[in-house]
């Protein structure tokens, strides 16, 4: 990993930071250039993430774990960045979704406020940093960077709905951050270190008297992450906030709950793996039953929602619940399917969030949402010009495209064939019923697995009903009345995200092979711990090779 490009691992953090600085310096000048810079930086970020993924996966079987010693101190003393398969996967997913959102924003939204592009890049930096860091306090800092940027982005476009839901969103997340710090402090009090790998290595040897304190600290940390991951009953902030956020921001926010899921998956499998002695699998049932309750809540919300934005919000909650429950099963093959589900669900959810505004444009006949801000819609890019007279009704291209994209979203979110949502759900169900592979006789699945199995089916059914109902209302009852204005830069990202899902379907076998390898590495974390703790600093002018010497 260190051979080809030595500083590759820090690029996903430094690149958005530099882009954000440049965007801030530009102030309110050159809006078009700023949008392009935003898209360009995000695109380079995607290429870098793909390269990291390629290098991490290159090692075959166990994969290679890239460790970057920031400031050149070895692991327990300095802050490290670690890229294993899971981090690389999340980086690629983040870059892909954010590229879609960035392109969409160039159409109009990025000009509704001066600092949109800068905040967008800062949020990317926080997300990438949180996925890469190997240090708990650094994780807190990146969480706060992400959240601070998300507060600004959420209010982007202003208006009462955003301020109102933003007030709740910020208050809840500030409380969660306080819990995060308390949990962090307790963990430090017991372990004396905040390096994830070091904590994991020392955890089996914690004295019995301190174990209660350790568990309390870990539980508090978990509550903070579960709030971000939108577990029931700590998720009432999510749907109003996501439904009120401006379109590209909502698409980006689809990643935020996945950040909570990622952190839980990473820390839980690292700290409370089967090797953790008396603490092994601590809190397992909270994940499973909390996840199931979240799914139930999300399913009811889906059924009760009328507005498309709220439906998309509840579909995020359902996918969060599914992931939590699946992770809590503590089984490599279920985790593997869950990771595949995460990819498919996140791409589809952000495509759905992008579609919301376009679809609602049909009903209102609005051509662009920001006309009142004095923006001129580009007239060269409208797609609704080539209406050809058919027998009966004319279907404008934009409407047809929107309809097809909407159907694809419904198929993926509900997990119907033939797209990736179906592959993900089937593999998840198969893994639940026979964790060792179909045909191999094994112990019968636990009751919780049956519950998850049932809820997966029910959530698929209710998502289909709810989304079809919204689709009928938006497309059929108003069709043809107002052919919606659609710019290429608005339609293309939606299509690109859906094409990514289709590609995921076609390449399901290599995809599942990758997630399988990821899950196996997660469930036997010794490789991760060794890789981090054995990373050696680079000899340099101020730091001669001093292997035996301890730090002062």
């Amino acid at each position: 990993m260190n051979a080809s490009v030595p500083h590759l691992l820090v690029v996903p953090i430094v690149l958005p930071l530099l882009a954000a600085v440049l965007l801030l310096l530009l102030g309110d000048r050159r809006p078009r250039f700023k949008s392009r810079l935003n898209v360009g930086a995000t695109m380079v970020g995607l290429l870098v993430a793909l390269e990291i993924l390629r290098q991490v996966d290159n090692g075959g079987g166990s994969g290679r774990i890239g460790v970057y010693l920031a400031s050149n101190w070895e692991a327990p003393f300095g802050i490290v960045l670690v890229a294993d398969r899971l981090s690389a996967l999340m980086l690629v997913l983040t870059s892909a979704v954010s590229l879609g959102a960035a392109v969409y924003a160039t159409a109009a939204w990025s000009r509704a406020g001066i600092y949109f592009n800068a905040l967008f890049q800062i949020q990317l930096m926080g997300l990438n940093g949180a996925f890469l860091t190997g240090d708990l306090f650094n994780l807190f800092v990146f969480f706060e960077v992400t959240l601070a940027a998300s507060y600004g982005l959420h209010l982007h476009g202003s208006g009462w709905a955003r301020v109102h839901s933003g007030l709740h969103y910020i208050a809840v997340n500030l409380l969660a951050s306080s819990l995060f710090l308390v949990g962090l402090a307790m963990l430090y009090g017991v372990m004396g270190t905040l390096s994830m790998a070091d904590v994991a290595a020392k955890l089996p040897h914690v004295a019995e008297a301190d174990r209660g304190l350790l568990h309390a600290g870990a539980a508090l940390l978990a509550v903070a992450f579960l709030i971000k991951a939108a577990i029931w009953p700590l998720n009432s902030w999510l749907v109003p906030a996501y439904a009120a956020a401006s379109t590209p921001v909502a698409a980006l926010f689809a990643l935020m709950t996945k950040l909570g899921i990622y952190t839980l998956l990473r820390l839980w499998t690292l700290l409370f793996s089967a090797d953790a002695g008396p603490s092994a699998h601590f809190g397992e049932s909270v994940f499973v039953y909390g996840g199931l309750a979240t799914m139930g809540f999300g399913v009811l919300g889906l059924a009760a929602s009328q507005r498309l934005g709220r439906i998309a919000g509840f579909s995020i909650i359902v996918s969060s619940g599914t992931l939590l429950a699946a992770i809590g099963m503590g089984n490599a093959s279920v985790t593997s399917s869950a990771l595949f589900y995460l990819l498919s669900a996140t791409l589809a959810a952000s495509a759905l969030f992008l579609l919301v505004e376009l679809v609602e444009r049909i009903a209102t006949g609005e051509r662009l949402p920001l006309l009142d801000l004095g923006l001129q819609p580009g007239e060269d890019t409208n797609l609704d010009d080539d209406e050809t007279p058919l027998v009966g009704r004319v279907i404008p291209v934009s409407l047809a495209l929107l309809g097809l994209a909407y159907i694809a979203c419904v198929l993926i979110v509900a997990g119907l064939p033939p797209l990736s949502g179906f592959v993900a759900k089937v593999s998840l169900m198969a893994a639940l019923l026979s964790p060792e592979g179909i045909g191999v006789s094994s112990i019968p699945p636990a009751p919780a697995a049956w519950w998850l199995f049932g809820l997966l089916l029910v959530s698929g059914l209710l998502a289909t009903i709810s989304l079809s109902r919204a689709g009928i209302r938006h497309f059929w009852s108003t069709a043809g009345r107002f052919p919606p204005g659609l710019k290429i830069s608005e339609g293309a990202p939606v299509l690109a995200l859906l094409v990514a899902c289709a590609w995921l379907t076609a390449r399901a076998a290599p995809g599942l092979r990758y997630t399988r390898a990821t899950a196996e590495a997660l469930h036997s974390p010794a490789g991760y711990i060794d890789a981090v703790l054995s990373a050696q600093p680079v000899p340099g002018p101020t730091r001669p090779i001093a292997s035996g010497e301890g730090t002062p």
Binding site: H164, L167, L175, V182
Partner: protein
């Protein structure tokens, strides 16, 4: 010393939770501010409370926790203070925007009967 600090954290934290649960945005922000003080003190206390010990190594004194106080929680507290200060300031802006848009400082933006 321990008892005093524990009491201080408890009082701050308890008041903070009560205030956060109140229906006025001003009370909520005061609660969040108090909570961040409680959390900062809590982090500080995790480095074991020692009086009159420096956190920085001096020549001639063995570098262990018998002779020094743990510098790590102090560094963490410093970062935590900055971050909570910034986010609270941001929240204050949203609070003012909400007050301006709704004309009331109720957290739901509706004038309550009481």
């Amino acid at each position: 010393m321990e008892a005093l600090l524990a009491l201080a954290i408890g009082v701050l934290g308890g008041s903070a939770v009560w205030l956060v649960l109140r229906p006025r945005t001003f009370q909520v922000i005061m609660g969040l501010a108090l909570l961040s003080y409680a959390v900062n003190l809590f982090i500080f206390s995790m480095g074991s409370l020692l009086i009159d010990r420096p956190p920085i190594v001096e020549p001639g004194v063995p570098a262990d926790l018998l002779h020094y106080t743990d510098p790590m929680p102090q560094a963490l507290v410093l970062t935590a203070i900055v971050i909570s200060f910034a986010t609270t300031a941001l929240f204050l802006v949203v609070l003012l925007a909400s007050r301006g848009l709704s004309g009331t400082d109720h957290v739901d933006g509706t004038k309550d009967r009481s």
